[in-house]
């Protein structure tokens, strides 16, 4: 089955609801067999983009190619994509078995083949014993698994998941996302996963696209997106970021980022002349006063987070968040203490404004 994995290409896609454009110039390539996420805040257009791939919503302008074939003009039932919904969408008037068999019957598969396939699919999600039940006799997690079985039993080319875990409670969510990933790897099914939860995206995706306002902000692996965000939105959306405005001063090969308050931070080679520097809280450490390459400030606030202590430091009017890993028994900085901040400049990212 891994042999007929297909890729997805989206080319210059625009989509509007009436007058309002909801997706603008989306370009995207998803590799065969990839677990790909759409990540973004609510209303950013993730579902709209996913549904455009499935064939729901207004017909978009542009191209969507699955395995090289443009499917924009095809109705949903001709696209051979499988979709799992947040609400599970099991049909309450059909038993689990009938729900799962539905797609096979629609494909006019001989009855003798349907039975074994349904059982194989139910077995795959570990719910073979539930075949005779009605959906309302199942728990939320079980319903979600049945919805998954119903989708994969027809062997779609592409699996589309729209926030499939958000109706589950926290611990079940973690378990289900592992199962989902394992299943995806086993089937080698090209998958698009929509979520607004960065942890969910980070833990599952090969690559992901961050969306905001119907525009793709950046595409890449979770690590690339976190470490080298392409813009302030991505920097802010993934994890916590300190963002300080300033200019870059070049001196031969060396470059320094000079903040408005005059503090200088050594940075690597950059083409940016003025803009912002992105500093992750864990890449700043509190050191003894007056060491080199440091900024001085006053501790304003302190939060104990278990594995970490988060300080809020006022550096000449700029608030900086710092995470120090917590070691048992260590002493903490007091509120009001004068401190110096040491910046790991190899982890700093400079963005043009």
């Amino acid at each position: 089955m891994t042999t007929n994995m297909v890729g997805i290409e989206i080319k210059d896609l625009h989509l509007s609801f009436g007058e309002t454009e909801v997706l603008t110039g989306v370009n995207l390539t998803i590799e065969p067999g990839e677990f790909f996420s759409f990540l973004g805040p609510s209303g950013s257009g993730k579902s709209t983009l996913l549904r455009a791939v499935a064939g729901f919503g207004p017909t978009p302008k542009g191209q969507i190619l699955i395995g090289g074939r443009d499917i924009v003009d095809l109705p949903p039932w001709k696209r051979n994509v499988g979709m799992v919904f947040q609400s599970y969408a099991l049909w309450p008037h059909m038993s689990v078995r009938d729900n799962v068999a539905f797609g096979l019957k629609e494909r006019k598969m001989p009855v003798s083949e349907i039975g074994p396939r349904v059982e194989a699919a139910l077995d795959l999600v570990g719910l073979l014993s539930m075949a005779g039940r009605m959906p309302n006799q199942l728990s939320g997690g079980q319903q979600q698994r049945i919805a998954l079985a119903r989708t994969i039993v027809v062997e779609p080319q592409v699996l589309l998941l729209d926030e499939p875990l958000s109706n589950l409670d926290a611990s079940l969510r973690v378990q289900m996302r592992r199962e989902l990933l394992a299943l995806q790897r086993k089937l080698g099914l090209t998958t698009i996963f929509v979520t607004h939860d960065q942890e969910e995206a980070n833990t599952t995706s090969d690559r992901m696209a961050v969306l905001d306002g119907g525009v793709i902000q950046q595409v890449g692996s979770p690590q690339v997106l976190y470490d080298t965000p392409a813009n302030l939105f991505v920097a802010n959306f993934l994890g916590t970021a300190n963002i300080i405005d300033g200019v870059v001063e070049k001196d031969g090969a060396a470059a320094r980022f000079v903040t408005k308050t005059g503090d200088a931070i050594a940075v690597g080679d950059t083409t940016v002349n003025s803009g912002s520097i992105v500093l992750r809280p864990q890449n700043i450490s509190i050191v003894a006063k007056d060491s080199a390459n440091s900024i001085s400030g006053t501790v304003m606030h302190r939060e104990f987070l278990g594995s970490q202590i988060r300080y809020l430091v006022d550096a000449a009017g700029t608030e900086i968040v710092i995470d120090q890993s917590h070691v048992s028994g260590e002493t903490w900085q007091d509120i009001g203490a004068e401190v110096s901040l040491n910046i790991n400049s190899s982890a700093a990212v400079v963005l043009a404004s």
Partner: protein, 742 residues
């Protein structure tokens, strides 16, 4: 398992409609059968050679009706696409062209050539005398027209309309066409009829003269002893009835939701009454009470020695009857509204130390305002459209609906006057309909979310509850007396004259005899009773189907002109039955669609009268079904028709049943459109009863009405049982749609 799409081999739906067109042209009788739509005597009676029953192809081959020959072209053209791919531009072009040309030609020949040859003088001038003629279209023409329509729909679907969805495009086009033919076309005919001169020409003067008639607009009852015009009478009556039903409806709604009243279920049963009671039956009961020989009248004249008067005949009687008949409708609307006011809003106000009365006045009442407007306008439209009560009780108080009837049926036989009156009536109701939509805007469709409001409605303030209880109790007692009267009256020999109890009326109406091993239905009512059941049984499923399909299109599909589509399908709700009746007579007593005097016209009038209710019921239940239920079916390979059939319809069982029973029952109680459309052969129960009333045969009329009420009560009861069962299944089903984690 990629589906190897069969884009090359022709789609079965395409083949079906091409074949249907050929069957319509080659095999079925082209023209309407005199004996009626459902009679099949023609099969043995000269078919296919007899001109009356011959198929179009046979006629053309004999050199008759030569104008049908060009239809062969659009019939042949679709054969060209059979071997083409759907994506081939020619596929769409050919189907669109063939469908449009064929349909247009059918319409053109239908309107151009009638029972006297050319219908228009200019056609005669252009093409010379015809020397042939034609009657109303029949099975063959109908099937061919459908074929052209749906081939056209497949053409635009192939061009990409609505994502190329053949089922949706076909359903939308089908409904547009039937609504155009059976709602807009008759209304247009009606408008035209208002301008027809006695010689058959058209003139603005006719309209001007009839429109300014003092019998419509006179105000002399205000200034002196004269009579006012029917338009003012109708308007005045409708405003009063609208206001009174709204107030009473609110009173009952408050009792049902904001009081410790214990018999709320019984109160809710009240809402069933207007559905199962033919409207004029209330009028009959009022005559039994307050008429010249009525019991109350008799009681007071004995007591005070005053001579009985005819005071009840006229405005007071009609008003009382209508208020009685339509209060339950207002109650039905308002109970939803009163319950819909979120308790948390009222609780919020209470925590701010507002007294109960302040809460009611400043929070609850304003929140109910849209509902109150809705209830008022329903009462207004119902009163305007009511025909039975004014006929029975109106006396000298002329209203538009009865005036229309007498203009058509009476000795005056004045079509254009009927048309003008109908236009006035229609303007009033459409004005009200428009005002309601303007005033309520989108609000009227937002439903209560049902989420998170666990609060309890506060009870009414004490100062309010005393009058509310009093009014409610008095009114409930009155209603019980009225219905008691109806039952009792059916057993009285001759009301007010001979008060002995008897089964006589039932026997006259419903007697039967065993004879020669079979039953002979000797009662005088059986004929109309069976016709009514038959017509209602045919109309009900068609109404439900049309209504639910429309609801599906409106809730689940997005297409250009959706709002206009919704407006068009809801419009017939605001068209009074009387207006439908007159317009159907004007539109369908001449070719190309000749239906007057048949049962079909009754069935059709019921479909379009009751369809809006099916639409509303369907929209209400479909918006409770999450869209992902159908979307998951679509991604699993079921097309929209299969999804509709396998997923949506089974989940809509309760709505389907409700729509079925509602349209069945309404078809049995309706009178205003029916009275114009019945014929000797197809007489309906209600019009038969009205006939008895006009002959002062009250006993029989009431006995028949009582029987009807019982029959319908049984129908509604069966529905309750059936829906009650399915609802349990659905409630649990809904939980699956939004279950939270375990």
């Amino acid at each position: 398992m990629r589906e190897v799409t069969s884009e090359r081999t022709a789609h079965p739906v395409l083949i079906f409609w091409i074949l249907a067109g050929w069957v319509g042209f080659l095999l079925l009788p082209w023209y309407g059968i005199e004996d009626g739509f459902f009679s099949f005597g023609w099969l043995l009676d000269g078919y296919p050679t007899d001109t009356d029953y011959a198929p179009a192809a046979f006629l053309v081959a004999q050199g008759e009706k030569t104008w049908l020959a060009p239809l062969l072209l659009p019939l042949l053209a679709p054969l060209l696409v059979l071997r083409r791919r759907k994506t081939d531009p020619a596929y769409a072009k050919i189907l669109i062209a063939a469908g449009a040309v064929g349909f247009a030609w059918l319409i053109a020949q239908g309107f151009g050539i009638g029972i006297r040859g050319w219908n228009f003088a200019w056609l005669e001038t252009a093409f010379g005398p015809l020397g042939d003629r034609q009657f109303g279209m029949g099975y063959g023409a109908m099937l061919l027209a459908s074929s052209f329509l749906f081939l056209f729909a497949q053409g635009i679907a192939a061009r990409g309309a609505i994502n190329g969805d053949v089922f949706v495009v076909s359903a939308v086009s089908g409904i547009i066409v039937i609504v155009t033919v059976f709602v807009f076309f008759p209304i247009a005919k009606l408008m035209l009829a208002a301008f027809i001169t006695e010689e058959g020409g058209y003139s603005l003067l006719v309209f001007a003269a009839k429109f300014t008639d003092s019998r419509i607009w006179s105000l002399s009852c205000v200034t002196g002893p004269g009579r006012c015009g029917a338009a003012w009478n109708s308007l005045f009556l409708a405003v009063i009835v609208g206001a009174l039903t709204t107030i009473l409806g609110l009173v009952f709604a408050l009792v049902a939701t904001r009081s410790g009243f214990r018999y709320k279920r019984a109160l809710r049963a009240l809402t069933v009454l207007p559905i199962i009671t033919p409207p004029f039956v209330i009028g009959l009961a009022i005559i039994l009470l307050f008429g010249l020989s009525g019991s109350v009248t008799g009681f007071f004249s004995d007591l005070f020695g005053i001579r009985p008067t005819r005071w009840i005949y006229g405005m007071p009687g009609v008003m009382i009857a209508q208020v009685l008949a339509y209060t339950p409708i207002a109650f039905l609307v308002l109970i939803g509204v009163v319950e819909g006011v979120s308790p948390s809003m009222e609780e919020a106000a209470q925590t701010l130390r507002a007294s109960r009365w302040q809460v009611f006045r400043t929070v609850s009442l304003p929140l109910m305002r849209p509902g109150l407007a809705n209830a008022f306008l329903l009462g207004f439209i119902e009163s305007m459209a009511d025909f039975g009560n004014p006929l029975v009780l109106g006396g000298n108080y002329d209203v538009l609906s009865t005036e229309i009837f007498f203009a058509i049926v009476g000795a005056q036989y004045d079509q254009s006057r009927a048309a003008v009156l109908a236009i006035v009536l229609l303007s009033f109701t459409l004005g009200a309909f428009y005002a309601q939509r303007r005033w309520l805007g989108k609000k009227s469709y937002t439903t209560v979310s049902g989420k998170g409001d666990s609060g309890v409605h506060p009870e009414m303030p004490a100062g309010l509850s005393v009058p509310v209880y009093t009014i409610a109790a008095a009114w409930a007692a009155f209603t019980i007396v009225i219905y008691g009267m109806i039952v009792y009256g059916s057993f009285v020999e001759l009301w007010g004259v001979r008060d002995t109890l008897t089964f006589k009326h039932y026997l006259t109406a419903f007697s039967m005899r065993l004879e020669d091993g079979g039953i002979r239905w000797t009662g005088s009512a059986w004929d109309s009773f069976f016709t009514t059941i038959k017509i209602a049984t045919i109309a009900a499923p068609l109404t439900a189907a049309a209504g639910l399909t429309t609801a599906y299109l409106l809730t689940r599909q997005n297409f250009v002109g959706r709002n206009a589509f919704e407006f068009g399908t809801m419009l017939s709700f605001a068209i009074p039955g009387t207006v439908i009746g007159v317009s159907y007579i004007l539109a369908f007593n001449v070719p190309p669609i000749e239906l007057t005097g048949t049962g079909v016209i009754l069935v059709i009038s019921f479909i379009f009268r009751n369809m809006p209710v099916g639409v509303r019921a369907g929209i209400a239940s479909m918006s409770q079904l999450d869209k992902s239920l159908d979307e998951s079916s679509l991604t699993l390979g079921a097309n929209s028709w299969q999804t509709f059939r396998l997923v949506i319809l089974p989940l809509l069982r309760p709505a389907i049943l409700a729509a079925l029973v509602y349209s069945f029952v309404r078809a049995m109680t309706a009178i205003s459109a029916v009275i114009f459309l019945v014929s000797a052969e197809y007489n309906m129960a209600t019009s038969y009863i009205i006939g008895r009333v006009e002959n002062n045969d009250y006993g029989l009329a009431i006995a028949y009405s009582t029987t009807l009420i019982l029959v319908m009560l049984t129908a509604v009861g069966l529905l309750q049982v059936a829906v009650g069962k399915t609802r349990i299944g659905r409630r649990t089903g809904q939980r699956t749609g939004q279950a939270s984690g375990d």
